[in-house]
Amino acid sequence: MGIIARVKKNLPSWAKKIFKKKKARIGIYGPPNAGKTTLSNRIIRDWSGDTMGPVSEIPHETRRARRKEGVVVNANGATIALDIIDTPGLATKIDFHDFMAYGLDEDEAKRRAKEATEGVIEAIKWLDDLDGILLIMDAAEDPFTQVNVTVIGNMEARELPLLIVANKIDLPEASPARIKSAFPQHTVIPISALEGYNIDKLYESIANHFG
C-alpha cells in the first residue's frame, strides 16, 4: 500500500468522504464458468436496466472483453460510477477436445479454442488499465488455482484494490469459508449472482472498496 493509500486508510470517516473517488474502472476476472458475465449482467441490470452479454454452460462463452460505462452504484450513502469490464475467463491451458465434450464439432471447437486463447491474452492486457478488480470464484470449487493466485499477486504488486466474490452460494456444496481461509488478507463477499443472494452486501462493498 502506497503512502497516499495508507494515509487515506487512517483518515476519520468525514475526511474520507472528501477524498472519495467518484469513478472507477473495474475489471471482472476469474476462471471460466465462475459466473463473471452472470454477475456483470446482474450489476448492470440492477443499476442501468441493461445487460452485458450472453451466458452459457460451455466454458469460454465470453471470448472478447466487454465494457459498460457509467454504471452508477448507490449503496449505504456512498455513490460511485463504474466502468465495468467483463473479461474472458483466465486459463493456463485450452484444449479444443474439451469443447467437443459439449457437443461442438471439431472445426467449431478449434475455432472456439483459438478465440478463447485470444480472450485470455486480452484479459491479461486489461490488467494494466484498471482501478481495481472483482475476482469471481466458484464457491463450490477449490479456490487454490494458479489463475486465482496469479490475479491476486498482480493486484497486490500493483497495489490496486481487489474484492473477492465467492459466487454460487446457492449450490449445496458451496463453501465461501474455504475461500476466506485460502486468501485471508482480502475481503470475501459470498453471493449468488444467479439468484441475487447477498447482492446488496456486494454493492455496499463495491462502493466502499473502490470509492
Binding site: M1, G2, I3, I4, A5, R6, L90, A91, T92, K93, I94, D95, F96, K110, A113, T117, E118, V120, I121, I124, K125, L127, F144, Q146, V149, T150, I152, G153, N154, E156, A157, A182
Partner: protein, 136 residues
C-alpha cells in the same frame, strides 16, 4: 572383444529408457535473467517435454506474461498449454518500507509442465501435490 560388445549394448539400452526429464533452475540463475528470457526458457523446456522447477519462481507480472505467451503458442493437436503451480508470493515490509509504504514481494518455488504431462492433485498455501506423466 566380446566384453566391448556387451558394454556397447548396455549403453544403448540406457538411452532408450523412457522417463520424465526434470529441469531445476536455481534462483541465482533466474536472478541474472530478464523476464522475457525466463519465460522463453521455461516455454522452450516445457515444449521439449521437461518438467521445470524454478527455485524462486516468477513475479506475478512474469506469471501473467507466461500465461499470455502460452496462449499465443497453443495449437490444436500439438500444444494445449501449461500447468503451473506455485506457492503464493510472500509480502515483506521492512521498517523503512513501512515509512515509505513499500512492500517487497518474495516469489516462491514454482513447477511448470505441459498440460498433458503435469496435473495438480492438491495444493494449498504451503503444499503442492502433482501427478507427472510421460509425454502422450
Amino acid at each position: 572383444m566380446s566384453k566391448k560388445k556387451t558394454k556397447k549394448k548396455r549403453t544403448k539400452k540406457s538411452t532408450n529408457q523412457k522417463g520424465i526429464k526434470i529441469d531445476l533452475v536455481s534462483g541465482d540463475r533466474l536472478s541474472t535473467m530478464a523476464s522475457m528470457e525466463k519465460i522463453r526458457l521455461i516455454l522452450d523446456m516445457v515444449r521439449n517435454g521437461s518438467i521445470v522447477i524454478l527455485e524462486r519462481g516468477l513475479t506475478p507480472e512474469e506469471e501473467a506474461k507466461l500465461i499470455e505467451m502460452t496462449m499465443a503458442e497453443i495449437t490444436p493437436d500439438d500444444f494445449s498449454g501449461i500447468e503451473i503451480e506455485s506457492y503464493p508470493c510472500k509480502q515483506r515490509t521492512t521498517f523503512l518500507g513501512k515509512l515509505l509504504g513499500k512492500t517487497t514481494i518474495e516469489t516462491r518455488l514454482t513447477v511448470v509442465g505441459a498440460a498433458n504431462q503435469l496435473k495438480t492433485l492438491k495444493r494449498d498455501r504451503d503444499f503442492i501435490s502433482a501427478l507427472v506423466s510421460a509425454r502422450s
